[in-house]
């Protein structure tokens, strides 16, 4: 379905995840973050870029992998994205929700 995010017409799925990463830009990310009550700091952006790179490389994302990323650790990840961090961060990053249980 279509949703207006940051003044742009964006295609999202029923959970609000972008279905086409090409429609993503930083303004879109900021708007989704604001909706999730996550004010974005430079630290947030480092992690969001990391998630996008991992997705580009077709790595399956999980909390465990975040902990081993060297970019952040699990504790900080939960501090930066307090509610459902992996789900929230991937949504802001414009990539699909990871189908991970760990």
């Amino acid at each position: 379905m279509e949703k207006i995010i940051a003044g742009k017409n964006i295609t999202v799925n029923e959970e609000g995840y972008l279905t086409d990463f090409n429609q993503w830009d930083e303004k879109v990310g900021e708007a989704i973050a604001a909706e999730a009550n996550v004010p974005l700091s430079p630290r947030h952006w480092e992690i969001l870029k990391y998630l996008q790179d991992e997705h580009k490389n077709q790595v399956a994302l999980s909390i465990r992998r975040i902990g081993k990323s060297g970019v952040t650790d699990i504790k900080e990840f939960y501090q930066l994205f307090p509610v459902a961090p992996l789900k929230t961060a991937t949504k802001i990053a414009g990539i699909p929700k990871p189908a991970s249980c760990i």
Binding site: R64, I74, K75, P85, K87, I102
Partner: protein
Amino acid sequence: MSENNGAIKKMMIILSKGTLENVYAAFVLANGARMEGIDAEIFFTFFGLEAVHKKKLEHLHVATVGNPAMHVPTMLGGLPGVEALASSMMKKEMEKIDMPDVHEFLDIMTASGVKLWACKLAMDMFHYKKEDLYEGVNDVITVGDFYKQSQGNGVHMLFV
């Protein structure tokens, strides 16, 4: 249940068994709750305490006897080494699907904000001391304390 559309706010998980499959079930449920933005706490009681006992947590096994889903005849399951073999096979499979070992899983959970409680009665029964336990265990508490922890709307309790 009608409060907030029945949304789950917190999972209180009681782990009473020390077999690998039960320990992992409790851990996956607790960690999975945190991943969804749901609070989670685990109360370790009776054999469940082994999952947070420093010297034992690396040596948990799957049950090969009395476990029909293992498809190992009960007589064979009881032979020396069979349980260890089945456990090491399962651990290899778990590593393949990116499943952490017990110690790492405890680290992940504490970093994610899962609270870990040890049951005082079981601690007394096994003669364990707080120092024997994984350092991330929040405290040794009574069942009454655990119920107090469980108060509030949207709290669910699960016995493993």
